[in-house]
Point group: C2
Chain length 632, copies 2
């Protein structure tokens, strides 16, 4: 075996190579947990912390022209994606189209200063829009207050260090949830694709309603919608073409330019479709007065989309219901219910998953992401935006356009402001079916059917929370679906904690005495100790040989475990069957010794000690020992 | 190292000593999990299962005169305890005194046949009585239906194998709960001790009310009550005297007889106090007409306690409320609410804790206990009893009287029937203060202040759920208190699962190449993988040496872990930093391999393989390797 040197991981740097301090204890690498308050306070106010909490301070001093160009191109490209997306997603949220744009500029500016991941342009997302619709029910005031409160919750979670909660949403649950949301969003767009009215809240009800009303579908809406979908999918495919990639000399300059152009067309496909169909709509209105397809104008309350950037104002803390009664702040909060926790959690979950995907191997500071998104969402709520966060589609575009820092958000935000200032009157001419096509052609790739095969091969049991969450999210209210999935998965973890595996071996000491070696494979904590005690008692009772419990894998224990060990040692003592503990970690040993009677609790660390212990143990009759142990 | 032989623990017997089959896999010792359905079916109908499910079949054939004597003495002694206890506990439950006795005979008979633990006489318990009062509010019909439904739930839990749920109530939570209940029960008796009226539901409210009303206390009730408490505590102490135990020849026959008599007096102290004060009350009524203390007669609705064994009848599925409206079955169930789950769980928890304490090292079949208690409770409900179970006080008496089998319950039950048949009219003369004294002097020893010190020494963190449950049970509704305690404790387990410890070591291969060895101390499951990945990335980034992840302690993994490992290997590959996995268990390896790219995921099992791998790894520049590895 190679001689080992342990080094304290919390020191942050490696020790000099000749430093040979050994330690058998495992070392907690979480620095927070080991330092005192004073050190913690000092740490909060040094330069490293400044860089951590205001990431802008770490990259702005090194900003240069090359980075500026990368950010400019990425920012404008993302802008061309975010504007049609914002219009479409506000439709999912059941809000007039301009509200999507309201959430796409101030948050971007905040994220420049606070954000840690350059490829995450904050703005409306499909999932957050659907959840907003489910929680706010298309009431603007509730949606805006939701953005404010969700931001507060995100900020609080960041400050309180509750980021670890996100870890309890496992991969399968997350996949099941995302896939279900994608199907529900696609379903919500069918009404615009076919220009029919759809009732019902659950997935099943909506599809029943769709099939009932399909006969009333107009002709031109689906024609336009499906043409757009086809066009978008083709343009998406075009972007993957890499001319000359297979030739031996690599692509020629001409090939490179064409590849880049194709990629640009593919990236701006949403903008192209929206502008083109918008022009079409404008031409129809100008020429015939009444277009054959439904236009966006129908979506906004007054018929016209208001132009200009909204003036900053407090989020609404009350609103007038449809029946003219006034809902105050508490009414609104109680109507939102669990959505107040689910939306921030889901937004953070999505955002951190994106950060990880584009981290290039750097670590993600989840706390900083929560603070950044929280402040961005609060700021957005002052611009009458609804909840949003990072969206995978935008991050892919941003990363592909050569983004360098979070400053790219500046250009995106400016583009959105320009759109709000000068182009809103033209948005009215965009056909609804075209926007639905934008959503559907993007959302279909969120259905993660491709995870099923590796999940089946890796661990079939993981399909239960995965498929379960998928089905539950489609049948139950969506936040209840994911909550149930998470709880089922936590039960897996608890069952795992409660049912350790034990290996049982009949061994012989060096001097030939038979003994039973029982090895639990993990920590002794309260849900599992009784199970372990029961199994040890059962196996020990089947023979009267000495029993050794191998504690190498027991890294921690608790009071309940210690009480159980006390009972176990007492039982063995009463039965006059020797029981020893082998290789108990000092930290665990001190827990057991605090409770168990010292004369019953015998620990040894070297293999050859066992014979000596057995020879000295008065509980064991000499006849039971092998002749080798009998006094010569 | 001693050569090891593994033996498959699920086979149930040890292999012959010369059988040397080795296996590195851990073996699940839970037989249920490994056998097929057919084997499971066959197992359900063999003799062993009969003994397990009808324990009477295993001990009755070996029943003999010696055992009969032991059971007779124990049964009668327990009877002398259970009768005054039943009268007192029904007062805690807010019911007329006879209802305690109604629950003390049929359940005993059922337990003879189905029960697995000889020292557990089923009957009313202090905790179950308090919970019944909180759930049923002193309404007889609700209390009886509660016994029926609680029995059903216990039976169901047994049949469905949900016994493992009890393991999630840890020692500290259980201690905190029991102590809080003891204080609340003692508080509930103060009104009878001082003959005052007490209002309020929480602990604090009741004590405020007590201090407000104390001026109205009568003189003779407290005098009688505290005299009885003093007498009971002295008699309790007397039972611990062992004459001649310290003399060298052991106790003489005379000393033995006196010791036994003292023990008998101590054991029957409740009966002695109740009979003596009952006679006193009778004498006062007979002589003066009006006694100076309040008597039991006031407790029963009609003034007189009805005599005789109740005729069996269905539990009531509806009742008439105080306002003359009728509550049907569903109303009753919804009024009981969470009590329907809390009462069975607490009763089982208490019962199984007692079984363990008197198991003499044998394993407890929790499933069988659930079935036995469930059927006993259902049977009791047909006798109009309220929920009950095993009580520690009775088990101590039973065990101390030399109980041999569960047949002792027969004599206890018969005594209760005799009491109901012939003595109920005399119960009316028992002073309330005397019964309160019986409860208080027993309950005070349930406050587990003595667990605080070992808990402090063993694991200070365990004081949080312990003390927290205690405080919460006193301030919140009691079932909410224990539920919160359990949830807090589960969060500890989850945090433990989410934050594994990593040891980080800088090592050198045999040929002198430096590498970083990172060893996680437990399984990689979804709550912890991201944390591990983050730490590995952080430590690996601080130097560019090869990294080895030591997987000896990783016994299982899931899909989320595999995805995270895939990202990790991809990141290292992109950074051209070698990453290897050492000693991965085959089961874990297959999970990782199902997801990770094979060229990135390199596993080795022998120390000397590492040099070979490093020499072959093209990611590592030769300059970074020690000269020893460079081609000679």
């Amino acid at each position: 075996m190679i001689p080992r040197r342990k080094h304290n991981a919390s020191s942050g740097s490696l020790p000099p190579p000749d430093d040979k301090h050994a330690s058998n204890d495992y070392i907690l690498t979480d620095t927070e947990a080991r330092c005192g308050w004073r050190a913690a306070l000092r740490r909060r106010f040094n330069r490293k912390t400044l860089h951590k909490r205001l990431p802008v301070t770490s990259w702005l001093p090194q900003y240069n022209a090359e980075k500026a160009v990368g950010d400019l191109i990425a920012g404008i490209t993302v802008g061309l994606t975010v504007i049609p997306q914002s219009l479409a997603y506000s439709n999912i949220a059941g809000l007039p189209p301009q509200y999507g744009l309201y959430g796409s500029f101030l948050g971007c500016f905040v994220y420049i200063v606070l954000g840690g991941c350059r490829a995450v342009p904050a703005g409306p997302t499909a999932i957050a829009s659907l959840l907003t619709y489910q929680v706010a029910g298309g009431v603007v005031e509730k949606a805006v207050l939701l953005a404010f409160l969700a931001g507060l919750v995100e900020l609080l979670m960041g400050v309180l260090g509750l980021g670890f909660l996100i870890n309890f949403v496992s991969g399968p649950v997350s996949s099941g949830f995302t896939s279900a949301v994608a199907l529900m969003i696609a379903t919500s767009q069918v009404k615009d694709l076919f220009a029919i009215s759809v009732s019902g809240t659950t997935f099943l009800q909506q599809w029943i309603s769709i099939f009932r009303n399909l006969h009333a579908a107009s002709l031109w809406d689906p024609v336009l919608g499906f043409s757009c979908i086809a066009l978008l999918l083709i343009m998406r495919k075009i972007g993957m073409i890499k001319l000359g990639a297979k030739s031996e000399d690599g692509p020629s300059t001409k090939q490179k330019v064409i590849t880049k152009c194709l990629w640009m067309v593919s990236t701006c496909r949403n903008a192209i479709v929206v502008v083109a169909t918008g022009l079409l709509g404008y031409w129809f209105v100008a020429t015939y007065g009444q277009p054959p397809v439904r236009l966006m104008a129908e979506n906004s309350r007054s018929g016209a989309i208001p132009s200009g950037v909204p003036s900053p104002q407090l989020p609404p803390f009350s609103y007038v219901r449809a029946d003219n009664s006034t809902a105050d702040f508490l009414d609104m909060v109680s109507e939102m219910g669990s959505g107040l926790l689910v939306i921030p959690l889901i937004v953070l979950l999505e955002d951190i998953a994106i950060c990880k995907a584009f981290s290039d191997g750097r670590t993600i500071d989840a706390t900083q992401e929560m603070i950044a998104l929280g402040v961005a969402s609060i700021a957005n709520s002052f611009m009458q935006a609804y909840p949003g966060g990072g969206s995978l589609a935008r991050s892919v575009v941003s990363n592909g356009s050569g983004v360098k820092t979070t400053l790219n958000g500046l250009y995106t935000g400016v583009m959105v402001i320009l759109a709000l200032q000068f182009f809103t009157q033209y948005f009215e001419y965009i056909p609804k079916a075209a926007l639905a096509a934008v959503i559907v052609s993007a959302i279909l790739f969120m259905v993660e059917y491709n995870v099923i095969k590796p999940m089946w091969r890796a661990k079939k049991l993981d399909l239960i929370p995965g498929v379960g969450t998928f089905v539950l999210c489609l049948t139950l209210p969506i936040e209840l679906g994911i909550l149930t999935g998470v709880i089922v998965n936590i039960i897996f973890i608890l069952y795992h904690a409660a049912r350790p595996k034990l290996s049982v071996e009949m061994l012989k000491t060096e001097r030939g005495v038979e003994y039973l070696m029982i090895t639990p494979d993990r920590c002794l904590m309260f849900p599992s100790v009784d199970y372990v005690r029961r199994l040890v008692t059962k196996h020990a009772a089947s023979s009267s040989v000495p029993v050794v419990i191998e504690c190498t894998h027991i890294y921690s224990a608790d009071y309940t475990a210690a009480k159980s060990i006390e009972q176990l040692t007492g039982d063995f003592h009463a039965r006059r069957q020797p029981l020893y503990f082998y290789n108990v970690k000092p930290s665990v040993c001190s827990i057991f010794e605090a409770v168990a009677k010292p004369e019953h609790f015998v620990v040894f660390y070297e293999d050859d000690e066992l014979d000596r212990l057995l020879a000295a143990d008065e509980r064991l009759e000499p006849a039971k020992l092998a002749p080798a142990l009998a006094p010569a």
